[in-house]
Symmetry: C2
Subunit: 282 residues, 2 copies
């Protein structure tokens, strides 16, 4: 691993850079970000050795960590310019449309579709830290379409960063993520909005908020520039998840309204089974 290029030096791209620097001491990283302040910060924070929009021909890996709606064009451009030994990886949170759009690209075998399940509610290079990716799941899609030798370069980086690899089809990925990630962000944003609206009548409302509120509303701090494109790209799956969620809320609302205490207890006790599932993972 000699040369990596990273476009998009935010939380994710920046954390990849910091972690890769720790593991490969000879590594040279070039980088680019459309936001000039981010680019300067990335330099100051030691994420990149030089600033350039496109990688050199002998670059091993090109990592693209920009918003979901920019990635298809960006991967395509990078593939067009890539040397024969370069693998282009995108880290976008949606995988269906990008995989399908790139399926006919003449250099498709130099592309790897990835999605690390790692993030915080903060964004930008100053939010990045090298441990962000440590022991996190990295989903890879359509592995069979990527050149065998080029994949080895990606594995070398992912193994060094302690990423746990998982393989799935793009459609399956998008469907699952709508439920276990995208829906959580919407629920958290709307919870934040509901309490902010209430604050208009009642300025001190947040004084009474405890750790439970903080936990459910944490994701409402997330970046709009990152999340709006995800909601658009994965629209159909998200609408399915959201409709199921709203229906569940309406049914529970009617139990509260009718004072059906035993029914509420029964339903919550069933949902409590999520304890075992979540505890298994942690």
């Amino acid at each position: 691993m000699k040369k990596i290029h990273i476009t998009g030096l935010g939380l994710l791209g920046g954390s990849f850079a910091l972690a890769a620097k720790q593991k490969f001491h000879e590594l040279e990283i070039s980088g680019w970000d459309i936001n000039e302040q981010n680019l300067q910060d990335a330099h100051i924070l030691g994420m990149i050795d030089k600033t350039q929009e496109f990688p050199e021909k002998d670059t091993d890996l090109v990592i693209l960590a920009t918003p979901a709606d920019t990635l298809t064009d960006l991967v395509s451009t990078m593939l067009d310019k890539a040397g024969d030994g370069t693998l282009v990886i995108d880290l976008g949170s949606t995988k269906g449309s990008i995989c399908s759009a790139l399926s006919a690209h003449p250099k498709r075998k130099q592309y790897l579709a990835g999605h690390p399940i790692a993030g915080t509610e903060y964004s930008g290079p100053r939010a990045a830290f090298p441990e962000l990716l440590n022991r996190k799941v990295m989903i890879l899609c359509e592995m069979e379409k990527t050149d065998l030798h080029l994949k080895e370069k990606a594995y070398e980086l992912f193994d060094a960063l302690n990423l746990k690899l998982r393989f799935m089809e793009p459609e399956e990925h998008d469907k699952q993520l709508a439920f276990v990630s995208h829906l959580s962000h919407i629920s958290s944003f709307m919870l934040g909005k509901t309490v902010l609206q209430k604050m208009e009548d009642d300025k001190n409302i947040f004084d009474m908020a405890g750790s439970g509120f903080a936990s459910t509303v944490r994701l409402a701090k997330s970046s709009p520039a990152m999340w709006a494109p995800i909601f658009s790209e994965n629209r159909m799956n998200i609408l399915e998840a959201l409709d199921g969620y709203i229906e569940n809320l309406q049914k529970f609302r009617s139990k509260i309204s009718e004072n059906e205490s035993d029914e509420m207890k029964k339903e919550m006790a069933e949902i409590n089974s999520i304890r075992d599932i979540l505890d298994l993972q942690s």
Copy 2:
């Protein structure tokens, strides 16, 4: 502070006991729980010195930490039996109906309505720990109705436990808590339910869940026996909060469905202002 009696030796009652024991070395705590296993556990964990349903006449403080729907009757019974120097405190999460029901009790001045903003998603004495209450907010309602000298005993305990006291009217308390606590629990339970329903088609769906999902769904582990009574007691305020939340979800759903990316970004950017509010608190 010589004698305290605690009824309800779960997460909250148990944590009060453990913390009080650390601060007052001569203190004798008697306790009761309707669940025999909890009572045994409380003994083993050193929370209580003796088991009895009702306090002795010379008890300083009686602390009641049972589900919200049991508290009005329990406070009333305890007041009936209380010696002249005993203060009865309830720690329930709703304050309107209990304060109104007890307003005409002949010993009203021996009662203090409290609610500590402290908890975790776990319950029972084995979930208790002495630091649970450290530096947390303790809301007190209708302070003026409690005897001045008896209140001093409560202050002595609360100060020793590093509780930060706040004073508000019961109706105001219930309205605020519906938004910043009760709604979060409902949103979390229903999020858990939505993903559990999806798991019926897709067994591995939780494998892809990251820290964002864990954070939003954490409260779905909470105790149904504690929460169903809160939802019933605070029904009107919770329905108002829930209706606002569902309306916000439906409006955001339509932005996703219509692919209104700029509108989504604008809305999320406004909600991001919650960062400053939450960061101020932590």
